[in-house]
């Protein structure tokens, strides 16, 4: 369980995973959805999620650049966990 928390415990990782659960998103879209995140932080969280194999980063060789992020198969297995977190939060939020 410590391992699981390490994977989703980052400041923004939970929300990123949740948002990507809704569908593929571009860097810019994520940045708008996660108010108050700096590009630097967002980049780092995305890289960690990618290294952990939870999300997939797809780069299009275009101008202007286009990068899409989506859940990997492994990332999708987190669905129930994310769901449990959200349910509890909705029920017990201050």
């Amino acid at each position: 369980m410590e391992a699981t928390l390490d994977l989703i415990g980052g400041q923004w990782k939970g929300v990123i995973l949740f948002r990507l659960g809704e569908g593929t998103k571009r860097f810019n879209e994520l940045q708008k959805l996660l108010k108050r995140v700096t590009p630097r932080s967002l980049t780092r969280q995305l890289r960690e999620l990618e290294n952990d194999g939870l999300i997939v980063r797809k780069v299009y060789a275009e101008v202007p650049p286009k990068v899409e992020y989506s859940l990997s198969d492994k990332g999708r297995t987190l669905g129930p966990v994310i769901g449990a977190l959200i349910d509890w939060g909705n029920t017990h939020a201050l």
Copy 2:
């Protein structure tokens, strides 16, 4: 969900919650169960969990001192969440 992660996202909080789910524990017992945690860190995590109303701290006015930690009613509602985290970790651990 960010709120939920804040509550259980600390370095040791998940394990503490899990262990207290097994039953009431004393400070010393927790320290033994959580290898490598320093008293300072353990104290701080316990205080935060207490302030969040997830655990109960009971002090006995004895010599030597005795302090017991246990889950609060609110803390017990986290059971399914903890369970989901553990299940996922067991299934997908490296």
